[in-house]
């Protein structure tokens, strides 16, 4: 053991120094700053029940110059890899890209803010948030007190990333399960990066925190006042966006220039200024650019269309790139004087790259104000549509290239004949890629026609509020763990939706009505606001913004997703008083067995979404994704009848076969919103539910199942432990059903845990609080 002892010692020293082990806020758990091998056994335990399910997108591998290699049947690549390991490898690649995107974002923001405020700038999230960083506390074992501490967390993510990217190289990992373990590891760290980024922004920019009722902000392309100069922000990193708001305020221009955002930069900027507008999600990016409403486009990073320079030029909109991730081959004019740049952009139509946020801000505003008066911002009117479609012949190339399989051709055909309704329906399901338009052999301007099909009304969204408050956790902790709040429903991710964009609002409302806690973020939080009831109210107006039964809240941009997973960790810590510090296995095990939370990423498209979801999974939070997500190639699924559902009873210290598949899956694709709602209700069931809580959860599961599938669930008997679990409301028919299927009472359990069912240094005692 020589070296291992040495190793542990050396690592211990380094780690202890980084996490200030001598601070005694909590004892240091078994895995502070874990490396790849440290949580591998936890992963293998999860993967024993929730086996990887692979759906290859490609039969081949083309990573090295031996390829292409055919991996069908029992074939292996030239390096010896098989189809399953190759899928797991591609998933690891996606999770590495996602984590790197968030980590790079965190690095950039921290770098900027530390220049502004210094390394020692204190982290203060307000008097309602004392557990400021559950991920950093749990994973690193560090209680971050300053911006400098957040930087330590990002450094650790960088250090782990190099090993995971290395594992992607040809001739490395040969086991699909070990690739999954690496994906789970780097994705756990993705949430660390998310948390570091969002906390840095809150304290560094002074976003509202420790409040629930953040302002309602204007939402929708119709909300943008195009009579003013319009600056359009696209991306995720708010550094330049904030500078633009500051420049407008300090020059008294806040009412003269419209600032609007697409994607997460919009989420960010409205937390800083409720004057700013949210145009909409990623799927409206090309549509809005082509509307020509923006005078200047300012890009930062992530989820920005690669053809923005060309599209901006065609729309007569100026372009400023501001981030090293997206340079578009433009000249770096950072060192030039603002006035000179403005001149080149206004007269010469030059597109520029400016790394200095303050300078980019000044240039953006001045260019917008100079260009706006000259710009014609007339939109397509419905009556113009037939003429725009006049060259159309029904070749259906547009339909064939649509990534959402929409009948675009038929819609254009109808529009040509004066019926715009089918085009309205297509627009509502459109994910915004523009392929139909580009592919049309007769150059029918399909995206332009959609201006007439789109609704130009204005909606609203509650500005992101950041972390859940400790007091809220204290209030809902018991009901959640006992099950009397039926669950936390987290609706997150991008806008690659399978059907109508307002399905998200429908799903959110269904659960809000049923008194689940509904938490949203990113593009999903936007589209949830894009639906009004008959009184003209959006979800954000109808439901309270509290983290409580029946609340509907927006935590913020995708980096704010860390606060959703963080809330689950805070339940374990604040309610169950389990220490977080370096205590990942215990916290994840607690969440898996006792916190009825379920994520939904209905339109997930990106590698970031893959990392976020996989990070949720390692933490024991199940996720439901839409049909497009089958292209992520991997799910974690159990088989409820066949699998072994034995857990350890933490108090009795004995193994108990619960016969109960809860939660049934860690991540699964569902086909329709109806099935999604039924599945999510089921995935909120936990072994720890009290009889009262289980009754409540089953009531919703049964009600939704009957509503959408027409009958009692055919797996209902698996979730009834004792007669006392049976919902009063459905008692009669449930009893009848149980009798029919020969249901028997299930073993009792005082404290369900996986600790003790796999090799781990964590003693069973650790889960008993």
């Amino acid at each position: 053991m020589a070296v291992v002892t040495k190793k542990r010692n050396l690592r211990k020293d380094t780690v202890n120094e980084i996490i200030r082990a001598e601070d005694k806020w909590e004892p240091v758990g078994h895995t502070p700053m874990p490396e790849l091998p440290d949580l591998r056994n936890w992963d293998m335990r999860l993967l024993k029940t929730y086996k990887p399910f692979y759906a290859p997108m490609c039969d081949l591998c083309c990573f090295c110059t031996y390829g292409k290699c055919d991996l069908t049947g029992d074939k292996r690549g030239a390096c010896g890899i098989d189809i399953s390991a190759q899928q797991a490898r591609v998933v690891l690649l996606a999770c590495c890209m996602g984590t790197a995107a968030h980590g790079g974002h965190a690095r950039h923001v921290l770098h900027y803010l530390i220049e502004k405020h210094g390394k020692d700038y204190k982290i203060n999230l307000g008097d309602q948030i004392l557990v400021e960083a559950p991920h950093i506390r749990t994973v690193l074992g560090l209680k971050p007190e300053t911006l400098g501490d957040l930087e330590k967390a990002v450094e650790y993510v960088e250090n782990q990333l190099i090993h995971c990217v290395s594992a992607l190289h040809t001739g490395q990992e040969g086991s699909a399960l070990d690739y999954e373990s690496k994906a789970l590891h780097i994705s756990m760290l993705d949430h660390v990066a998310l948390e570091a980024a969002d906390i840095a922004e809150i304290v560094g920019f002074g976003y509202p925190t420790s409040v629930a009722d953040t302002p309602l902000v204007g939402l929708g392309w119709g909300a943008v006042d195009r009579t003013k100069p319009v600056i359009l922000l696209i991306g995720h990193n708010p550094v330049t966006a904030i500078s633009i708001v500051d420049y407008l305020n300090s020059n008294g221009l806040q009412d003269k220039v419209e600032v609007a955002g697409i994607c997460c930069t919009a989420q960010e900027v409205v937390r800083y200024s409720d004057r700013a507008k949210v145009v909409g999600p990623l799927s409206r990016q090309l549509f809005f650019i082509r509307c020509g409403i923006a005078d200047v486009i300012v890009t930062d990073e992530q989820c920005v269309r690669c053809d923005t320079p060309g599209e901006a030029a065609k729309a007569g909109t100026a372009l400023i790139a501001t981030n090293d991730k997206i340079c578009y081959g433009l000249e770096d004019v950072t060192k030039k004087e603002a006035g000179e740049i403005v001149k080149e952009m206004v007269s010469g139509g030059k597109q520029t790259l400016i790394f200095d946020p303050e300078k980019a801000a000044e240039v953006a505003v001045r260019v917008a104000m100079e260009l706006a008066p000259k710009k014609n911002k007339v939109l397509t009117k419905p009556e113009e549509v037939p003429d725009l479609a006049k060259d159309h012949k029904l070749c259906n190339m547009c339909s064939q290239v649509c990534p959402n399989l929409l009948p675009v051709g038929d819609a254009i055909e109808a529009a040509k004949n004066g019926n715009i309704q089918p085009l309205v329906e297509v627009f509502n399901k459109c994910i915004g890629c523009g392929k139909c338009d580009h592919e049309c052999p007769r150059h029918v301007p399909i995206i332009k026609m959609m201006q007439a099909a789109a609704s130009w009304e204005s909606w609203n969204m509650r500005a992101g509020r950041g972390p859940i408050m400790d007091v809220e956790i204290r209030k809902v902790g018991a009901p959640i763990v006992l099950g009397t709040i039926p669950g936390i429903i987290a609706i997150v991710g991008c806008s690659n939706f399978p059907e109508e964009i307002d399905e998200v609002a429908e799903i959110a409302e269904e659960f809000a009505k049923r008194k689940y806690i509904v938490v949203l973020s990113g593009c999903s939080a936007m589209v949830a606001g894009m639906k009004k009831d008959k009184e003209g109210k959006t979800l954000y107006e109808k439901y309270p913004p509290n983290f409580d039964a029946g609340g509907v809240l927006n935590v913020g941009s995708c980096v704010a997703n860390s606060h959703i997973t963080g809330a689950a960790m805070k339940v374990a810590n604040i309610f169950a008083t389990l220490p977080l510090r370096g205590n990942y296995e215990v916290i994840a095990d607690y969440i898996l067995n006792r916190v009825g939370a379920c994520g939904l990423a209905w339109g997930a498209y990106s590698q970031k979404a893959a990392a976020i979801a996989t990070g949720c999974n390692r933490l024991g939070i199940p996720v439901v994704v839409g049909p497009h997500s089958s292209k992520y190639r991997r799910l974690y699924m159990s088989r409820k009848e066949e699998d072994d559902w034995t857990v350890m009873d933490g108090r009795e210290k004995k193994l108990v076969d619960t016969e109960e598949p809860s939660p049934e899956h860690l991540i699964t694709v569902v086909e329709s919103k109806e099935r999604a709602m039924v599945t999510m209700a089921k995935l909120c069931i936990r072994k720890n539910d009290t009889a009262q809580g289980r009754q409540l959860k089953l009531t919703h599961y049964i009600a939704l199942h009957k509503q959408y599938l027409g009958t009692l669930p055919d797996d209902l008997h698996l979730f009834v432990r004792k007669a006392t679990d049976i919902p009063i409301f459905f008692k009669k028919e449930v009893m009848a059903y149980l009798e029919k299927v020969g249901w028997k009472e299930k073993p009792v359990l005082t404290l369900p845990t996986l600790i003790g069912t796999y090799p781990s240094e964590v003693p069973i005692e650790a889960v008993v609080h």
């Binding site: 399910f53 039969d59 049909p627």
Partner: protein
Amino acid sequence: MTTTLPYHRVNVLTGTKSARLIEDASEYAHLIKRAKRPLLVLGSWALTTTLGGKLLIEYGVDIAKTLDIPICATAHTKKKLLELGVEPASSYDIIEILNHLKDLEWKGVKKEGNHDLVMFLGFRTDLGEQGLSTLKHLAPHLKTMTLCKFYYPHASYSLPNYRKDEQWKEFLDNLITNLKSKEA
């Protein structure tokens, strides 16, 4: 070996192993009759697609009835089936049934053993292709067959990309007739 391009370009095959394209209903019928334990999996598009004035799911029901083929009702198709007076043998969602099918040892929806031929009707082509990919790669013990009007490269047997719904309807009608007829 040659392969056909699927209607929806996102589903283009990248590989060497693609579905046998079959246009002859009697050949399909023969393959189905030959199967020991066929299964028909119905998806949500069977609820929204109409063909010759009927809902697609009704064609599914007619096909199933001919040889008493068990149905797996995915998504929320079960409700409609019940309205049509049909009790599906199971109501897993699509990924769940695939997850069972890829296990050779699985006992099948009728607990009589895993299925040897799985027919799909009424799925988004992209989700369908991904699901068929799972079975093509990881379920060598069974064959897959698609009944929708598009070519599915990842299936074992697939229909062509029909330009007209009429052609598709004619095929399904012929298939039903053939399945009803006694001779194999």
